[in-house]
Symmetry: C3
Subunit: 208 residues, 3 copies
């Protein structure tokens, strides 16, 4: 009897692996368009596709959750882990969108390049921590990935501080306002990664 439940449990881990992979792809694509300063229709459309894929997997997880009796960890943690992971790509899409709307395409900004690199690295750690969830004996390993995310969050704060300090030397106030908002969103992506790391930590802590 217990046997029939196992595949279902496994499926949740697979779905989360799948979702993490899509988020890594989105973060990688973000890095590419930031390095080219390309925030035109094509980039926005492709980023929206990344976001849609994540939405779909998140929905799948939710549907499965409603139909599954036994879950590998608390139902509400599955719920919030899926939603908070999904939010990472939502904010990346927001930045891409805002860059287009504010007609900032063609601008290559060294700080946003640095941000996109830190975001990518944080998302990689997130993916590793999520991939390891199925093996809770490795809780120390998971713990380390989460600490790494927190350290990347500090790096993100430093980038933002330097970027903001320099930004205010600029003459064009509209330029300042737009970039200030972009930097804040970029920081939010990394904060969101930290939120995910906190949820992963909580899941590990609960099962200890």
């Amino acid at each position: 009897m217990g046997f029939s439940f196992l595949p279902k449990e496994e499926k949740f881990y697979d779905d989360f692996d799948n979702l993490s992979e899509k988020i890594v792809n989105a973060a990688k694509y973000f890095m590419v368009i930031v390095e080219k300063g390309d925030f035109g229709d094509e980039s926005l459309m492709r980023m929206r596709e990344h976001e849609n894929q994540c939405d779909e997997i998140t929905h799948e997880i939710m549907n499965k959750l409603n139909k599954t009796f036994i879950t590998p960890f608390d139902r509400e943690d599955i719920h919030s882990l899926a939603h908070e992971l999904d939010s990472i790509v939502d904010i990346i899409l927001t930045i891409t969108n805002r860059m287009k709307i504010y007609k900032m395409s063609g601008q290559i900004d060294q700080y946003l390049v640095k941000f996109s690199d830190v975001i990518y690295r944080a998302v990689l750690e997130i993916a590793k921590s999520v991939n390891t969830l199925r093996d809770l004996k490795k809780s120390d390993l998971i713990h380390n990935y989460c600490i790494e995310v927190k350290q990347l969050e500090n790096v993100g704060d430093q980038i933002r501080d330097i970027a903001m300090g320099e930004l205010f030397n600029h003459n064009d106030i509209i330029h300042i306002m737009k970039w200030k908002e972009i930097y804040e969103h970029a920081e939010n992506v990394i904060d969101q990664c930290e939120d995910v790391a906190n949820i992963v930590s909580t899941i590990v802590v609960k099962q200890a």
Copy 2:
């Protein structure tokens, strides 16, 4: 024995229905003053009354929670549902307040009109989902209301994108700064509705 508990449980549902209704009233009143561009003392005072009424019901729910042994769903979910519902009107009051403080009364803004409409519709879905909580057999229905809130959140994002894009064509930077903030708060109201929808979903998921 069990019988004597039921009325108490019912009371929680009644309180949440009551709170939702007050929030709908506040959102409706917000729509009226936004359409008239009336952010004077009278509007602010009446909006504050709406907010006070919600505060009172939220306090009542908390007091009842401290005195009740058996609750219809998890104590901490009652706690957070009440507080997050209450926050919807807090942010609506913040906007009204900010419009007054920034001396923006008399300005009718088509985007804020659209926002107030989406807010009203999101709050209606929230109210329906909360009203249906007492009948968890209708979890599909509740799920649909929550999905509707999420879709309205997307609509809100689109309004904000167009509004922001246009805003930066304006000449007066103070005007840009003030409206940027108002639009962000308007978007926050809808995000807050989505947070409530997520809590409602979690409650349904937990009881599945």
Copy 3:
């Protein structure tokens, strides 16, 4: 047997008392530098020390949590209480940092002075509520501290409203932008205190 667990449980309360005390120290130091308008290297360095101390205690709590079987209240509440307390000082450090980066040292601002006073008072109430957690018979007392934090949050909102209204009369837009951000962060500190108060309330509610 049960006896051997007690010291461990007690240790959590001691750690939280310790963390609260450090936060009170940080808030007191913030009040001092705001009143002197001193946001130079020395102030930033010392505030960073305050923040590091809080980080260390938070880490200690997390480590202990991973090694302890019986906890005085839910593992996940210990987790989030520690992190949310820690965030109070994070935001205070952010303000100090931003004042330095934006070269605002030397400016004494009456509204920030008022904010720092309200922050200090909110943090004192937080500390009292945390200190009382070990004695859940005093849940009414804890409840009152939490209500006090919420009222201070309202006071903070009023300060921000007046400060923002006046700020927009200023001629220098860069000045407006910088101070707008500082005031928003100052308000966030108090919001963060309210978040902590909500967690404390939830812990009390759960154990009722």
